[in-house]
């Protein structure tokens, strides 16, 4: 195997870890409340713009931008839950799809209106230079994004499986009435789930903002990536999202390298359709 190929695969894995991070937010609310957030990719886009604003206004790097983006998006998540999701959850499916889809448009075009359609980017050396080891050249910004995303995704999994908060959330997902009888407030738990899910997108957005192009419509592509990841990993499963995210990162990089950059999105979309058609329960999920 040539060095270039290894380089491409490592790059794919690092990006894939970020995909895994924001997709685990989508899979969390989907698995817990059976609602699909069509605005999920646009949450990531908001995270990118928060990081960008932090940099241009205050000159702050990812050390300031990433926590701030997480906090801002977590707040957005809670507000969205109480203002919109709580009510449309009980409504017909048309209302659920329209509600989150309308939210996506609202966010995307508010940013478009404010910042314009231009491609923005951060300075290439905002995190540090490029490391070279064993013949591989890795940009510090990508390395930081990949490692942090991997750790946070694993942390999220531990939070959901090993803490009492995680058990409470699981209880609400299983049976709201029974959870309520045990003294757990479904409303609070679901709001926390939205805060975690949106916070994860904020962090992911701030991390990839350091090397990705920043544009209002980026959320559309990233949203589809999140759907692909979740459908591949099985809905509601954070470990599934992690494996699927890494896999998609690698497939995307490889097809970009082997077939051509314009076709990498097509490959991911076609893969998504094939999975929906032949294995809608995902790699690890069961229906």
């Amino acid at each position: 195997m040539s060095f270039v190929l290894v380089q491409v695969i490592v790059g794919g894995l690092l990006l894939g870890a970020v995909y895994a991070l924001f997709s685990s937010g989508l899979t969390l609310v989907w698995g817990m409340m059976n609602i699909v957030n069509f605005a999920h990719g646009d949450f990531v886009m908001l995270g990118m713009y928060v990081a960008y604003v932090v940099y241009t206004l205050m000159g702050g790097g990812p050390l300031l931008g990433a926590p701030l983006a997480t906090l801002v998006l977590a707040t957005v998540g809670v507000v969205v839950y109480f203002a919109l999701i709580r009510d449309i959850m009980k409504g017909p499916m048309l209302a659920q799809i329209l509600g989150t889809f309308g939210l996506a448009l609202l966010l995307r075009y508010s940013v478009f209106w404010w910042f314009g359609a231009n491609f923005l980017s951060m300075p290439p050396d905002i995190v540090g230079g490029t490391y070279a080891f064993a013949g591989l050249r890795i940009e510090a910004s990508r390395l930081l994004a990949g490692v942090v995303a991997l750790l946070v995704t694993l942390g999220l999994h531990l939070l959901l499986t090993r803490t009492s908060l995680g058990s409470k959330m699981l209880a609400v997902a299983e049976d709201q009435t029974a959870a309520q009888l045990m003294g757990i407030r479904p409303d609070t738990m679901q709001a926390i789930a939205w805060a975690i899910a949106a916070g994860a997108t904020g962090l992911a957005g701030a991390l990839i903002a350091n090397f990705f192009y920043i544009v209002p419509t980026v959320g559309e592509t990233l949203g589809i990536v999140a759907f692909v990841t979740v459908s591949l990993g099985g809905f509601g499963s954070v470990p599934g999202a992690l494996v699927a995210g890494l896999l998609i990162g690698v497939i995307e990089s490889l097809s970009g390298y082997l077939i051509g950059a314009i076709y990498k999105d097509i490959v991911v979309y076609v893969l998504f359709l094939l999975f929906l058609w032949f294995r809608p329960q995902g790699l690890m999920g069961k229906i």
Binding site: L84, L106, R108, Y109, I266
Partner: protein, 323 residues
């Protein structure tokens, strides 16, 4: 009886509109309202009546638009040939997409339709034969009347009106046929409908294919009026969004819902574009987004459902039976 009076008033207004308000801007506005009403009514068959929210309907719109412009640009035929050929392509595509995805629950269907539309847009953008990113153009100078290339919007207005009437008639006929009853049963509870012997998958697929065919006609008409099609105007996801919002605003699953939605939103967009210029493009979709969120939150049945709700509650009390 009241219903027929209302219908004839609306019909008379629709026929007289371009003669009463005869400036080019107003005639063009009228034609656009009718065009989007056709597309939204077509969406309504699968999104409203069958309850399957397709977010990628633009792919069928694109089939018609590309078929119409392709007939001219590639084969030197009248763009009118794009109507039958677009229908064939759209129905075939609907079958390919629909057979596997309509089995899945609704969210998956919505996502799959987005992915199909985006895949098609990317493929067409990279296909030189279909004009790639530049797109295809129609006749610049019409050779004869069958090129359907007119300077004035008036001929388009009446053409679109005719197609809209046909579309609404097909929808009305469908809702009163066996298929309409199946669809209503499936929408209420698919499991119950299946257990009573309604062929759920097949009925949804037929609705999807019918909707695809009519959407493709609207795409062909759009391309004829504007004289060109490119990947953004023919296959961009925002076209689907507009169509969907119009139907949902007026009332998804109601015969005249999409027409009402189009009559409100198309003038809104045209006016905001002409007032705000290029900057309006973003703002228009901010308003669109806000409108959908508000509908979903407060009136998921759409504006027209306000009337039907009132009528229903009146007739309920009139009949005097307890629920």
């Amino acid at each position: 009886m009241r219903r027929w009076i209302w219908l004839s008033v609306v019909a008379a207004f629709a026929i007289a509109y371009p003669l009463l308000l005869s400036s080019p801007f107003q005639q063009r506005l009228g034609a656009l309202v009718l065009l989007y009403a056709i597309a939204a009514s077509a969406w309504n068959i699968v999104g409203g009546y069958a309850g399957q929210v397709s977010v990628g309907h633009v792919v069928f719109f694109g089939c018609g638009a590309y078929a119409a412009m392709g007939s001219y640009a590639k084969f030197g035929l009248s763009p009118l040939f794009g109507i039958p050929s677009g229908i064939v392509i759209a129905v075939g595509l609907a079958a390919i997409v629909g057979v596997p995805t309509l089995r899945l629950s609704g969210h998956y269907f919505s996502m799959a339709t987005i992915a199909v539309a985006e895949t098609m847009r990317l493929i067409v953008t990279n296909t030189d034969w279909l004009g790639a990113a530049v797109g295809l153009s129609g006749p610049t100078v019409p050779r004869n009347i069958f090129d359907l290339s007119f300077l004035s919007s008036l001929p388009y207005y009446y053409l679109f009106l005719l197609v809209l009437v046909i579309t609404l008639f097909i929808t009305w006929w469908m809702t009163n046929s066996r298929m309409g009853f199946y669809l209503r049963a499936i929408k209420d509870s698919e499991r119950a409908a299946r257990s009573l012997g309604a062929p759920a998958s097949r009925t949804k697929l037929y609705a999807y294919m019918l909707s695809a065919a009519l959407t493709s006609v609207s795409g062909a008409l759009y391309a004829m009026m504007f004289g060109f099609v490119d990947p953004e105007s023919g296959l961009g996801i925002l076209i689907s969004v507009k169509i969907l919002i119009m139907a949902a605003l007026g009332g998804a699953g109601l015969l005249f819902g999409p027409l009402v939605g189009a009559a409100i939103l198309v003038p809104l967009e045209e006016i905001s574009n002409s007032w705000l210029g290029g900057k309006g493009a973003g703002l228009t979709f901010v308003v669109y987004g806000a409108i959908i969120v508000l509908i979903a939150r407060f009136q998921p049945g759409g504006l027209l459902s306000l009337f039907t709700q009132r009528r229903k509650s009146k007739s309920d009390t009139g009949a005097g039976h307890a629920p």
